[in-house]
């Protein structure tokens, strides 16, 4: 927005406005009482949280003008659900989320509407993402990255055939002709896209997708247990020889991890026909399958700046094979696989930070109403991990409100650990 000369004499003032929170059309657009509404200033990182009242209004007072991200969460127990909607849910706890990016708060802002959606809470959840890596000189740099998925249910779940996706989107909030107002790509403008705005609302776009091997019952995961998917399943604390025969010395083992006992590792050498220098094969650890490889990375390289999203996808091989590929609307050469939201079991958006490095969200509100990040930044040996909610009969249940802003915190990376 360009300045208007007649406004240069006008003082900015803190603004009061309200956010109206309602359930989506599935729930007849009823007002959402007692939801937790948080706004975060994209330039200051200032955060304000207010509960919605009996009219579904969250009243924010004395807020600095600026651009904000809004996220709203409603955690509803089955009794409240029955009272509100008149029928008994199948789950004991139902989570609703709503969000909006790029909300401009100024003296013209009066009421903002947020629509709350729900999706089934997954049996499998993303528990920990170690995308930041460790010190580039003294640690293992990006080589000790891993993703951990967790059985958050009370029954045995089989990981066979689960897809693990690295999601792609715009790296900045800057608005161009090929982006939405929040800076995210407007995928409806991609070449050969024919489904209009549904391309933005009903799908995500993956650059790389791994698949857990097995025929359906080969990899059971007990309740409260997890699978660690490593870039390279070796002990990164020890010195070793890389694939080119060069010695890799770890100057400070405390900064990195022993991933030799990971459950799976990503090995791209066979798939690409060219083995990356640091893509060390551990024969004792099974490889992940490569379901889709869109970019030119030579390993499971997670973006250290947190500019990717992550998702667990469950769909049949046939459905997966039918997914379409598109270029981004900017027209770059790389093709990204279009994945329907309905197939996502769990998803987490990450960002560099909440300020100048804010990354537009990729996932729909009902999958992840927020975004998480590493306050310590890249190469810090830190990871984002899902919070522990409670422990029942020795089984740890992780917090899963489908809002990673609330559900995740930063810890020193710790595979199979808890915060």
């Amino acid at each position: 927005m360009q300045s208007c000369s007649n406004n240069e004499d006008k003082a900015l003032k803190p603004v009061s406005f309200s956010i109206s929170v309602k359930y989506d059309e599935t729930f007849n657009n009823q007002i959402t009482k007692s939801s937790s509404v948080t706004i975060v200033n994209n330039e200051t990182g200032n955060k304000y949280t207010v509960k919605s009242d009996d009219n579904g209004l969250a009243q924010f007072n004395q807020i600095l003008p600026g651009t904000y991200s809004v996220s709203a969460t409603k955690i509803m127990q089955s009794a409240e659900f029955s009272d509100t909607f008149g029928y008994t849910p199948t789950e004991t706890e139902i989570n609703f989320n709503g969000s909006q990016s790029g909300l401009l708060v100024n003296n013209l802002t009066v009421t903002v509407n947020i629509v709350m959606k729900t999706s089934k809470v997954g049996d499998f959840v993303i528990k920990q993402i170690h995308y930041g890596g460790s010190d580039t000189q003294k640690g293992a740099s990006i080589r000790d990255q891993f993703i951990e998925i967790y059985n958050n249910s009370n029954t045995v779940q089989y990981a066979d055939g689960l897809y693990i996706a690295q999601l792609y989107g715009s790296y900045a909030t800057t608005v161009f002709t090929y982006t939405l107002a929040n800076g995210q790509y407007d995928w409806s403008k991609s070449a050969e896209m024919t489904i209009g705005d549904k391309a933005n609302t009903d799908y995500v776009y993956a650059s790389n997708i791994f698949v857990i091997p097995g025929d359906g019952t080969k990899y059971p995961v007990q309740p409260g247990k997890s699978l660690v998917l490593a870039q390279s399943a070796i002990n990164h604390k020890s010195n070793y020889m890389d694939n080119s025969g060069k010695s890799v010395s770890i100057l400070n083992p405390e900064l990195t991890l022993d991933l030799s006992n990971a459950d799976f590792e990503a090995f791209l050498g066979t798939f690409l026909g060219d083995t990356y220098q640091y893509d060390i094969q551990n024969p004792a650890v099974p490889d992940l399958g490569i379901a889709y490889w869109g970019n030119k990375n030579k390993d499971m390289i997670l973006d250290t700046n947190g500019r990717q999203g992550y998702a667990i996808i469950k769909m049949t091989n046939t459905d997966f094979a039918a997914l379409k590929k598109y270029k981004n609307p900017k027209g770059d050469a790389t093709l990204y696989l279009q994945v329907p939201n309905s197939a996502i079991v769990d998803g987490v958006d990450t960002t560099k930070d909440l300020g100048a490095g804010f990354i537009p969200k990729k996932l729909a509100t009902q999958i992840d109403g927020g975004t998480t990040y590493l306050p310590s930044g890249f190469f810090s040996s830190k990871s984002v991990i899902r919070k522990t909610k409670t422990t029942i009969a020795g089984r740890i249940i992780l917090q899963d409100t489908n809002n990673s802003s609330n559900d995740f915190v930063e810890i020193t990376a710790n595979p199979r650990g808890f915060n």
Partner: protein, 532 residues
């Protein structure tokens, strides 16, 4: 003192070229030595009239001013203890300065000065621009900062010059040009590299009303382009988990923002400052008296661009400053005595406009009245005595609309000084002492309301309160100058001088419990001049 440090300067500047041209021009003209009515010495108390001649040459086109050239090298050490936060704990400055004024046979008056400064600052925190809160109670917004302290290496070149001439019996003209090149760099993460290129031109036109009276107008236009680039050797320090090194941007005063992302590759920003000034004045002069009254209005607009390109689409913040300045200068001599007096009034108002949010988020209103008077008796070039009085009254308000911080600092700074020459056979020793007392006035106040959502009051606690407490604490500042002059060949004089100055904190005049450093701040400067 290692003057040869100057060879390390790396600013790509045309300053030397311009100065060489000016010297060449001056050295190839025939200089006259008319019956001089105004004699400028190197004595610091002659700065009052020297500044008048350099600033408003149009008022002196019909005066006989004795030619002078002062060339000096100096070293200054400053140890800041009782001080505001956004300055260095220690500053070492190496300077070369040359200035001169000449009248040609055809009565062109030529003047100029040239300076090179190398400044080493130790332990500067909370600011990543070249602004320092030494002379400013609150530095202007538009700056990046981190709390972490680090050393800076700075270089400042400046060349200015001009001429004045009576074109006809009634019409006279003067022109001044000024060019400056500056480079500031910090030696620890984050590492800003700031380069300034300043260029200004001023024209003054005078009309001789009678033999003793002249009216004049002046117009000035200046441009300052600042390129701001910062780097981190260790980029991992620029994350919020490391508050000492996480880069922030301050758009108001006390309002902490995340830094704005450059729209270009890397971390490059531009500031452009455009200034225009128009004014008018009147001067009365005869053989023994000069009286000048003038007024000017100055508008400057500093635009912060989130890009290396100064295009409208990249404008993010605009700081508009309007200054009204009125000045009265009087000079009178009789027998061997002289009185010089300058009364100045400045009123400045600044507003910081947030382009994105379409309104201003900071303003200040500064008013200053300054009265400086000296009376002296000279026997030839010897000062028999000199007494002076310097009074500065300030009424300053700073309002961060958004934080919300309201600061009002009203103060009175009074100084008395005296000087005397002790003549020897060939040489002489000049001594000067001054005593300054700073009084914050009871009407000063600081009010703060946190609108940050409680996320960060660090800047307020660490900087704003500290600086307010410093600004509202009485201090006493004695100073001593010793200057030994020794004539050498061809009417040249070599001068060795030293300045000593202290600032001693006295009584705190505020209710804050903040603990500030009240140890004595001191300066020491020594230099050598060649004057003729």
């Amino acid at each position: 003192m290692k003057i040869n440090n100057f060879k390390d300067f790396k600013i790509k500047s045309n300053a030397l070229k311009y100065w060489a041209l000016l010297l060449f021009f001056i050295s190839n003209i025939y200089l006259i030595q008319a019956q001089d009515s105004i004699v400028i010495t190197n004595h610091i108390f002659d700065n009052q009239i020297k500044n008048q001649i350099f600033k408003y040459p149009i008022a002196y086109t019909n005066q006989n001013i004795k030619d002078f050239t002062f060339t000096e090298v100096s070293y200054e050490h400053q140890q800041n203890e009782f001080a505001r936060k956004q300055i260095a704990n220690e500053v070492n400055t190496y300077q070369f300065l040359a200035q001169g004024h000449f009248t040609t046979k055809s009565k062109w008056k030529l003047f100029g000065d040239f300076s090179i400064r190398k400044i080493e600052e130790k332990n500067v925190g909370w600011v990543l621009s070249e602004d320092r809160s030494e002379d400013q109670e609150v530095i202007m917004p538009h700056y990046f900062f981190v709390p972490r302290k680090a050393d800076w290496q700075n270089q400042v070149y400046r060349v200015s010059g001009g001429f004045s001439k009576e074109i006809t019996n009634h019409l006279s003209i003067a022109f001044k040009g000024d060019y400056g090149a500056e480079k500031y760099s910090r030696t620890l993460d984050p590492r800003p590299q700031i380069t300034n290129r300043k260029l200004s031109g001023e024209i003054q036109i005078g009309y001789q009303i009678t033999a003793n009276q002249k009216a004049f107008v002046l117009g000035n236009y200046a441009q300052n382009i600042k390129d701001y680039v910062y780097t981190y050797n260790n980029k991992s320090l620029n994350f919020e988990a490391y508050p000492e090194t996480y880069l922030r941007f301050n758009a108001g005063y006390g309002r902490i923002l995340n830094y704005f992302k450059s729209n270009q590759e890397g971390y490059k920003f531009t500031y452009e400052e455009l200034t225009d000034k128009i004014g008018l004045g009147y001067t009365f002069s005869n053989k023994n008296t000069i009286l000048t009254a003038l007024y000017y209005n100055q508008n400057s607009n500093t635009i912060f661009y989130t890009s290396v390109f100064n295009l409208q689409e990249y404008e993010r913040m605009k700081l508009d400053t309007k200054i009204n300045h009125a000045e009265l200068f009087a000079f009178h001599k009789w027998n061997k005595k002289e009185i010089k007096s300058t009364l100045k009034f400045d009123k400045s108002e600044a507003r910081n406009f947030d382009v994105k949010n379409n309104g201003y988020n900071y303003k200040n209103a500064l008013k200053t009245v300054n009265w400086l008077t000296t009376i002296s008796k000279k026997t030839r070039s010897n000062i028999d005595y000199l007494f002076g009085l310097d009074v500065i009254y300030k009424q300053n308000q700073y309002n961060d609309i958004m934080a919300i911080t309201d600061i009002e600092i009203n103060s009175l700074n009074t100084g008395i000084f005296g000087s005397r020459d002790f003549a020897f056979k060939k040489s002489k020793l000049n001594t000067a002492v001054s005593f300054n007392m700073y009084f914050p006035l009871p009407s000063s106040k600081l009010e703060y309301y946190d609108t940050s959502g409680g996320s960060s009051a660090t800047f307020f606690n660490e900087v704003i309160i500290n600086d307010y407490v410093v600004s509202t604490t009485n201090y006493f500042s004695p100073a001593l100058r010793l200057e030994y002059s020794y004539p050498v060949k061809n009417n040249k004089t070599v001068v060795f001088y030293t300045n000593l100055k202290e600032k001693l904190a006295l009584k705190k005049q505020n209710d804050y419990n903040a603990i500030i450093n009240t140890n004595t701040t001191y300066w020491i400067q020594c230099g050598v001049q060649l004057n003729y």
